[in-house]
Assembly symmetry: C2
Homo-oligomer: 278 residues x 2
């Protein structure tokens, strides 16, 4: 418990409820006039427990889940401002084909964000790795943020932007081998914190990464509240099936064989991108 | 294994790879001209393993994760068409404040969808429960689909639309008690299949629900592939912390106390909505 007494604890959770996804209605529904409390900042007045500035990059072809899993848990923090930032103001098409409208453009980078998070993808990430404007922005946003992080192949973008040199980091299990290209030290952990960097493994690891961040920013009790609100009690169909070391040699080998061309091409693009910078 | 031989198995996974989120680049990156293969249907030709029509309702204030978690896994099925459907063509603002562009409007309901899925929310779901146009559409879409399902408080919308009478079902743990209002039988299971209905518990249960559906539609091997691609090997910060029965009486009791007004108001709105129909 990080909270001094039960009254504070209740106000704390009340504040959490005001902005979290599920229970917002619990408070807001009592007074329709309060519906826009989040936008107007009234909820922060209810209980001003935080005001983290969190930016999540979105780019054409990004894997939506890499960005939206973290967004779910992070936006449960009362007062935190979680915003999607993109090259232009136009809706950004994710890999599976739907569009999300960004809140901000590269030109509107806020001062000193607390967190800058980069999602991964496949073809879209390959293109982004080769896109100077995007990589330069990632470098700028990462360096100006208290912490820079990634989910899945997003770590390849952090790396090409020069943000992972000498850092322990992770990535989707199939692209872990590429991390040394830019001086990162590959880790098989699901979430890796190393000083001012945090990286998550493939896709759904973004949920675990975000919940760790909620704990970091708001403490254990808050994070427990968020986990319970999101009913995050996962029961994967195949226990161990999401980890290459336990999923079975048949499926792991097959996927590795299938994706060899992608991993090779990503490696070549990363090398080329790094050469151009010299 | 549902697959007859290793060659078929490889082609099967190859098809999966062509459309799934992570490895799409593995194939598409080899030939930039194939980038729009998904849209043009070329990938279905590579290996036409399925053509499920899946609709996910989005409405103002829906919890993004309830819809996008399932979208992630379901869109990994080669050839499946996963589409967001909304009242109008305008971008729909989710509860945490960002906007998603729907693919279809209520007037464009495809014939005989395989699955119609309804996400939950808090204040937004309360409004939707009281919105005749939305509830009528849910009824129409649900009845015309092979299976109708929900995540989190989305089951309250299915129920008000008359689609859960006599069915075992679940909901967010805090709204389970409301299911009998429309004749559903509450279950504490994370994912509940009952004939042509499937319901998931709160928010993140949508991931488990979707993976169960992938298994249902494509078999064990395919579902294993999807789970491994999404690296779905969850490690919640607090083991058991996402289940009200194991999260601890302190946090569970506190959240229950806080959300009593919301649950009561939702109950009243459901009763009113059901009365109006008589």
């Amino acid at each position: 418990m990080n909270l001094p007494d039960s009254v504070t604890r209740r106000r704390f959770l009340h504040g959490l409820a005001a902005l979290s996804t599920f229970p917002a209605g619990a408070l807001l529904a009592e007074d329709p006039g309060k519906k826009n409390a989040k936008a107007s900042g009234n909820c922060a007045e209810c209980f001003p427990v935080g005001e983290e500035k969190i930016l999540i990059l979105i780019y054409p072809g990004f894997t939506a889940m890499d960005a939206l899993g973290p967004e779910y848990f992070l936006s449960c923090m009362t007062g935190a401002r979680v915003r999607f930032i993109a090259k232009t103001a136009a809706p950004v098409r994710c890999e599976s084909g739907f569009e999300i409208t960004p809140h901000l453009t590269f030109g509107q980078l806020p001062e000193k964000p607390d967190l800058f998070l980069v999602p991964g993808g496949a073809g879209g990430t390959l293109e982004a790795v080769g896109d100077r404007v995007t990589c330069d922005f990632i470098r700028k946003a990462g360096l100006s943020s208290t912490m820079a992080g990634s989910v899945c192949t997003g770590s390849l973008l952090l790396g090409v932007a020069g943000l992972l040199e000498g850092y322990e980091a992770t990535s989707h299990w199939q692209t872990l081998e590429l991390l040394p290209l830019f001086g990162a030290i590959p880790s098989k952990k699901r979430v890796v914190f190393d000083r001012d960097r945090v990286t998550g493994a493939g896709v759904t690891a973004g949920l675990d990464l975000a919940l760790e961040l909620v704990r970091l920013y708001r403490g254990d009790f808050y994070a427990r509240g968020v986990q319970l609100l999101g009913e995050y009690d996962p029961r994967p169909v195949f226990p161990g099936g999401g980890n290459p070391e336990t999923a079975g040699a048949d499926i792991t080998g097959l996927l590795n064989e299938m994706h060899r061309p992608f991993v090779d091409r990503m490696g070549a693009t990363i090398r080329e991108s790094l050469r151009e910078k010299i």
